[in-house]
Amino acid sequence: MSATTVPATWNKARQQPGRLARLFDYKPFLVFACLLPALGLLGVFLTYPLGLGIWLAFTDTTIGRRGVWIGFENFEYLFTDPIFWNAVFYSVFYTGVATLGKFALGLWLALLLNNHLPLKSLLRAIILLPWIVPTVLSAIAFWWIYDPQFSIISYLAVDVLGVRTTNFDFLGSAWPARWSLIAANIWRGIPFVAISLLAGLQTISPSLYEAALLDGSTPWQRFRYITFPMLMPILAIVMTFSIIFTFTDFQLVYAITRGGPVNSTHLLATLAFQRGIPGGQLGEGAAIAVSMIPFLIFATLFSYFGLARRKWQQGEGND
C-alpha cells in the first residue's frame, strides 16, 4: 500500500509566465515588435511623403487651394509639354555624360592615388575637397566662373592672354550652358568615385598582381583582367549611387542657371520644383517628380543586375 503512496515531490509549481511575458516569448511577435520603431520611422519619413507625392500627382492641388482627383490629367498635359520632354532629355543626357566623366576621371585618379606617392594621405584629403564643400557653395563658385561679365576664364582669355576679344558666353545659349553644368557636376562628383574606388583597389590582394607579373603580363592586362573585375562589385554600388545622385541633382542647376536659358537646362528635379513651389502648381510639380521614379528604378536595376550579379563573382557554375 505504502508503495503506492505518492512520494514527496518538489511540488512548487513552475510559475506560469504572465500573458504579456508569453507574448514576448513568442518569437514572431518579438521580431515584429522590434521592427516596429523602424517601420514607424520609415512610414512617417519615407512612405508617407512618397505616398503623398504620388497622390498629389493625380490632383490639381496648387499652393493655396486643395485639389481634387483628376486622374492622369497632369501626365497627359506633361506628355504634350515640350518643356517637360526637354527636361527628360537633359536629365538622361546629363546623368549619362556626367556619370561617364566622373567614372573615367575618378577611376584614373583612384589608380594614381593607389600608387606610392609622397604625402599620400594629404593628397587624398585634398582630393575630397570638392565633395566636402556644400554643393550650393561650389555652385555659386561656378556661377561666378560662368558669369557672362565677370568670369575668371573670360578674364584670363581676354585680358591676360589676349586670345579672345569677347567674353565666353557660357550660360547664354542652350548647349554651352548644358556642357557647363555637366562640367561642374563632374568636378563635384569625381572625389566620391575616386575615394570609393580607391577603397576597392586596396582590397585587391597584391599576390594576384605578383602572379600576373610572373606570367609576364602587361600593365593593361593587369588592369583588364585583375583590377577591373575585382573592382566590379564596388563599381556597381558606386555607380548606382552616382546615377541616382546625378539624376536627382538640383542644387547645381538651380543655383547656376535656374533651368535657363529658356528652360534648356531644366532637370526633372528643378522643373518639378519650379512648377510646384514658385509656380504654385503642386500637383503638376508632383507629377514631374513622380515621373522620375521609373528612370530611377531602371537605373538601379540596371546597375544591380547588369554589373553586380556576375556569376563569376559568386563562384557559380556556367549555367
Binding site: D60, T62, I63, G64, R65, R66, Y77, P82, I83, Y146, D147, P148, Q149, F150, T166, N167, D169, F170, L171, G172, S173, A174, A177, T257, R258, G259, G260, P261, V262, N263, Q274, R275, I277, P278, G279, G280, Q281
Partner: protein
C-alpha cells in the same frame, strides 16, 4: 497724441479721426470718419511681413507697432519673413486657418485667399477719404476685381524704372530718353555704337526679367489676359513687341540671356552696362559706396518709356496687407493696419525706407521722402501705374504663377536668342498661360 488711447479696448481707434487736424503738417488730410472698430477684450496680434530692404524700415515699423500697443494695450508681435517664403507661409496660414492674424504679403495674395479674409472696405474707405484717395495700382491690388470691396490694404510698391548713365547717353548724341519705342531703340543703338551698351535681364530673373518682358509687351499694347481673364498673349501687339525685340536685343551687352536678378546691378556697377531697368537699390548701392559715388552722380532715373501706353508700363512689387477670418481679433487687426497707415506712423516709415517703397495713398506725395534726392523722386509715382502683374485680367493665382514660371520672360528670351520666331514664341506663351489660367 497717444494719451488719448489709455483705456484699453474701449476708445479703440474710433478716435483716430480726431487726430486728423493734428496730423503731420506735411501730409494734407481731408475730414473723414474712422470706422468704429471696438477692440476685442484681451486682444493680441501676430503678424508676418517681408524682411526689410534697409534697417530703418524694421526699426520704424517696430516702433510704430509699439505705439499701437501703448495706445490700445494690444500686444503686436511682428515677424519678418524672407521674401521667397512669404507666399508659401501665407498659403499655409490661409489653408490651415491657424497662425498669424494678419500678413503683409505680395501682390495677388489677398485675391487668391479672398474667401479666407476679413473685408477691409471700411478701413480702406476711411483712409482713402482722409488721404486724398488710393492710387491706381493700390486700387487694383486692394479691391476685388470689378467691385468696390477691399480685400487687402496695400502698404507700398517698389517700382523698376529705367536707370542710365548720363555721360554715355550724351556721348551717343542724346540728351534725354525719348518716350517712343523707335526713339528708345535709337538710343540703345547709339549706346552700342560707342561701346557702352544697355542691358536688360532676359534670364530667369523673377523681378528684373519679368519687369522687362512686361514692359516690352505692355508698351506695344499687348497683354497676357483680357479683362475677363482669357489668355490673349498671342496677339499682333505681342508679335510687334517681339519683332521690336529682335532689333533691340543686338544692342545689349552679351550674356543678358543668362542674367539673374543681381546680374544687371553688378554689370552696371562695373560700368559694363550703361542702361538698365532696376529698383532703387542699385542707385543706393552706388551712392553709398565712396568708390562708386561718381557713377551715382552720373546716373539718371526715370520711368520706362511709355511706348503706346498712357503711363509707364511697369507694375511695382506691391506690399498687400490682409486680415484673416480665423483671427479672433479682427477689429484689433483692422485697427492696427489703419493705425499703421495714418500719417503719424506711415510718413516716418515711408521716410525710413528712403524711396524703396512708394506710397499707396495720394496725400503721401507730399512726404519729405520725395524732397531730398531728386533722383529718388521718380519712385513717388510708382503706384500711379495702370499696369499690374496679369494685366489686364482679374488678379488671380494664375497671373502669379505665370509670372513665377517666367512665361513672358521666356517668350522674349526665345525670340532674342533666335530659337523661335515671334509667332512661335507668342503661341508657346499662349499654350503655357492657358494652363495657368484654365478654369478649375
Amino acid at each position: 497724441m497717444t494719451n488719448m488711447f489709455t483705456r484699453r479696448g474701449t476708445a479703440g481707434l474710433a478716435g483716430a479721426a480726431l487726430l486728423g487736424g493734428r496730423a503731420m503738417a506735411a501730409i494734407p488730410t481731408s475730414p473723414a470718419t474712422a470706422p468704429s472698430l471696438p477692440i476685442e477684450r484681451g486682444a493680441t496680434l501676430r503678424m508676418l511681413r517681408p524682411v526689410r530692404f534697409v534697417q530703418p524700415d524694421e526699426d520704424v515699423f517696430r516702433a510704430n507697432a509699439a505705439r499701437f500697443t501703448a495706445a490700445t494695450g494690444v500686444e503686436v508681435r511682428v515677424d519678418f519673413v524672407g521674401w521667397e517664403d512669404i507666399t508659401q507661409q501665407t498659403a499655409v496660414t490661409a489653408n490651415t486657418g491657424a497662425g498669424p492674424d494678419l500678413i503683409i504679403g505680395f501682390n495677388e495674395s489677398p485675391h487668391v485667399y479672398q474667401d479666407k479674409l476679413v473685408d477691409v472696405t471700411d478701413v480702406a474707405t476711411y483712409l482713402g477719404t482722409k488721404y486724398g484717395g488710393w492710387k491706381a495700382l493700390a486700387q487694383r491690388y486692394g479691391k476685388r476685381a470689378g467691385s468696390n470691396n477691399w480685400l487687402g490694404l496695400p502698404f507700398g510698391a517698389s517700382g523698376g524704372p529705367l536707370i542710365w548713365r548720363k555721360s554715355a547717353v550724351n556721348e551717343a548724341g542724346f540728351t534725354e530718353i525719348p518716350e517712343d519705342l523707335a526713339g528708345f531703340l535709337r538710343v540703345c543703338q547709339g549706346l552700342k555704337r560707342i561701346g557702352k551698351p544697355a542691358g536688360f535681364a532676359l534670364g530667369n530673373a523673377v523681378g528684373d526679367g519679368n519687369a522687362f518682358a512686361n514692359w516690352l509687351v505692355w508698351s506695344h499694347g499687348g497683354y497676357l489676359v483680357d479683362e475677363e481673364g482669357k489668355v490673349a498673349i498671342n496677339s499682333p501687339q505681342t508679335i510687334a513687341a517681339l519683332t521690336y525685340l529682335k532689333d533691340l536685343y543686338p544692342t545689349f551687352l552679351p550674356g543678358t540671356l543668362s542674367w539673374g536678378d543681381v546680374s544687371n546691378n553688378r554689370a552696371y556697377s562695373a560700368s559694363e552696362c550703361w542702361m538698365t531697368e532696376n529698383g532703387v537699390s542699385l542707385y543706393f548701392s552706388l551712392k553709398n559706396d565712396p568708390a562708386l559715388a561718381p557713377l551715382a552722380e552720373d546716373t539718371q532715373i526715370q520711368p520706362m518709356p511709355k511706348g503706346l501706353a498712357a503711363t509707364a508700363p511697369n507694375a511695382g512689387l506691391t506690399l498687400n496687407a490682409m486680415v484673416f477670418k480665423h483671427s479672433r481679433f479682427p477689429n484689433a487687426a483692422k485697427a492696427f493696419l489703419s493705425f499703421m497707415l495714418e500719417a503719424e506712423q506711415y510718413d516716418p516709415w515711408l521716410q525710413a525706407n528712403v524711396g524703396y517703397w512708394g506710397q499707396p495713398l495720394n496725400a503721401y506725395d507730399e512726404s519729405d521722402t520725395w524732397k531730398g534726392d531728386p533722383k529718388v523722386a521718380v519712385f513717388r509715382t510708382t503706384m500711379n501705374s495702370d499696369f499690374w502683374l496679369g494685366y489686364k485680367g482679374p488678379i488671380s493665382e494664375g497671373s502669379a504663377a505665370a509670372n513665377a514660371d517666367y512665361v513672358m520672360v521666356q517668350m522674349c528670351a526665345s525670340v532674342a536668342s533666335g530659337q523661335a520666331t515671334p509667332q512661335a514664341a507668342a503661341a508657346e506663351a499662349e499654350r503655357r498661360a492657358r494652363r495657368f489660367f484654365r478654369a478649375r
